[in-house]
Amino acid sequence: MSSLTLQSATKHFGAVTAVADLDLDVHDGEFFVLLGPSGAGKTTTLRLAAGLETPDQGRVLMDGQDVTHLPPAPRDVAFVFQQYSLYPHLTVFDNIAFPLRSAMRRVDAGELKRRVERVAETLHLESKLQRKATALSGGEMQRVAIGRALVREPRVFLMDEPLSSLDAKLREELRAELKALQRRTGATVLYVTHDQVEATTLADRIAILEDGRVKQVGTPREIYDQPRCLHVAQRLGSPAFNVLPVSWFEGSVDPRTVHVGIRPEDVELAAGDGPSHFDVIECSLVKHLIVAERGGVEVRIRRVMDRAFAPGDRVHVSFPLKNCLRFDADGRRLDT
């Protein structure tokens, strides 16, 4: 395994700047997630790391060694895509074995069998090895695609939304498996997603990407608890971060404050009427979620409840100042 570094990497496509002056430092053995909306530059960053694109400026290093102008093959990275492109006419065994049979590697038959079987066991595919790839479910196909990357024992894994084409249940299963697998093997993984749940559950560290720039890097807890700007605060969290009118806090916050935000689980809630009541719009026991409205502002509250509020019920909502985050006109977090 290997570390992976991008130094001041910039990549333009015509007039579009996909990645701007981007610094990234993925440690050896780290599960590193790039999180951002589509168009943020996630995939371009991944392709720069793979050698599928060359940066206009800046450098790519692996284990401290400059690989900026090295083609993909000698970098020895394995790519897993969202769309598992398996060979439909081959069996699961042959699909996984495929990279080992390339002219570059040429692993002998006994060793090949041993490695394929070990990978199959890791991914719970032992019983499926002789099946045709097309006879598999979506989740199994993606497991085979991951297996094909795993069997190569590459220096770095690059994964581009590998779970996003699976249904919710499979995604959850494979997510947990992927994390356990990475822990066990100590693999270096650079993983791209727009799904914040994947980011917080999988990552050792997350980089929040927006408009081709890194907004913040940190552990999931650092980013969730201490966002540096409003964009980052809104990027993580489900139900989403509440942004409240500053007029609700007049006199009690720094005068530079333009936005006040609070996490749904930090909002306090009591049943009942009162001069500052909110109207319940939506309530779900399963999602532990209440959405309430006052003066056109919707507030999301996360709470384990014994019984659900009905739409139209009145509740009393408060926002403890110690739990509120304040932001200035540029969306920068104001220190508290």
């Binding site: 356990a180 939506e282 026991l285 399963v286």
Partner: protein
């Protein structure tokens, strides 16, 4: 406005029984969700209420009137399908007017109703446009508008949100619920999605393999699942179901799980083999030595909370842990439960064991049962 009553309704397709002698009362003005996995009989039940299928036996009453053998259009019920069949060659207004064409209404009344519906659904600005140019969500609204413009006695909806993406589905859930709160028209809504069911329903009917397993409020199905199937089907992560070490004794409020004494709401029956059910949010992490001995096997961080998988002698227990705590894999911990939030199931019949809390729940329950 209508009350829908179904009596011992049965439907078989050759030797397959899709609906098994189901009885239900759907009260006037309620939003009732039929919830279950595919093939559970929910759509067949809905289609019989609509008149699109005729039952093999049983009866359907609309406001006390037997409509079992009436044709769909004689029932004054509007069916909203999964894939909304709008007429693409007609404009938005024509689509909305279509159901009123044969009703012999004066022009002014038609215009008034269209205006009202468009206002409710906020599609006034689309009225003079064409269907072809609309987004998926606007099409959905037009289709909803077409259903409500007739002012039927009841709405029947078969997974109407099934084809929308997740974010938009949530928006439409809120929209539908608001619409219902305004119109108060009896609505029967079929879905396999528990989030939709919990967000929309006054009343949930859980079905599986043609049978009604529970007919209850959202709280009822969540807090007091009638059987193991409902317990597993509703709630994510799923309810923990832990085998008891010893039998359950009536009027004895202590059971043994993984070698520890656990206080539960007093059971009202003795049962040889039983399971304790507790939802992940009612599992508490305590210092080792308290409650059930456990080891943290896996943790996932979600920002607002952690989900921890805890290995015990009774199997893995899933717990929702507050964000302030940071459980670490390998930690030795103790587990306790929120006593009032535990339920017991008979392992052989798979039914809930009546207890002090289930009794109180059923006593206070709104009547929506046959």
């Amino acid at each position: 406005m209508a009350e829908i009553r179904i009596n011992r309704l049965r439907k078989s397709f050759s030797d397959f029984v899709a609906v098994k002698d189901s009885s239900l009362v759907l009260e006037d003005g309620r939003f009732v969700v039929l919830l279950g996995p595919s093939g559970c009989g929910k759509t067949t039940t809905l289609r019989m209420i609509a008149g699109l299928e005729y039952p093999s036996s049983g009866q359907i009453l609309l406001d006390g009137e037997d409509v079992t053998w009436r044709r769909p259009r004689e029932r004054d019920i509007a069916m909203v399908f999964q894939l909304f069949a709008l007429y693409p060659h007609m404009g938005v207004r024509e689509n909305l007017e279509f159901p009123l064409r044969n009703e012999g209404l004066p022009r002014a009344e038609i215009d008034r109703r269209i205006g009202e519906v468009a206002g409710i659904l906020r599609i006034e600005h689309l009225l003079d446009g064409r269907i072809g140019g609309l987004s998926g969500g606007d099409r959905q609204r037009v289709a909803l508008g077409r259903a409500i413009v007739r002012q039927p006695k009841a709405f029947l909806m078969d997974e109407p949100l099934g084809t929308l993406d997740a974010e938009f589905r949530e928006l439409m859930c809120v929209e539908l619920r608001k619409l219902h709160d305004r119109l108060k028209t009896t609505t029967v809504f079929v879905t396999h999605d528990q989030n939709e069911a919990m967000a929309l329903a006054d009343h949930i009917v859980v079905m599986n393999q043609g049978e009604i397993l529970q007919s209850d409020t959202p709280e009822g199905v969540y807090n007091f699942p009638s059987c193991l199937f409902v317990a597993r089907f509703i709630g994510r992560p799923a309810m923990n179901l832990l085998p008891l070490d010893e039998r359950v004794m009536a009027d004895w409020d202590t059971v043994r799980v993984a070698g520890a004494d656990i206080t539960v709401p007093t059971p009202l029956a003795s049962v040889q083999r039983a399971l304790l059910g507790v939802r992940p949010e009612h599992v508490n992490l305590r210092p080792a030595g308290e409650g059930i001995a456990a080891q943290v096997a896996q943790v996932e961080y979600f920002g607002s909370h952690w989900v921890a998988s805890l290995a015990t002698a009774a199997g893995n227990v899933c717990a929702l842990v507050s964000k302030e705590t940071a459980p670490a894999v390998g930690d030795a911990v103790g587990i306790t439960f929120d006593t009032q939030r535990t339920v017991l199931f008979d392992a052989s019949t798979e039914q809930i064991i009546p207890s002090a809390t289930t009794l109180a729940h059923h006593a206070g329950k709104a009547p929506c049962q046959a």
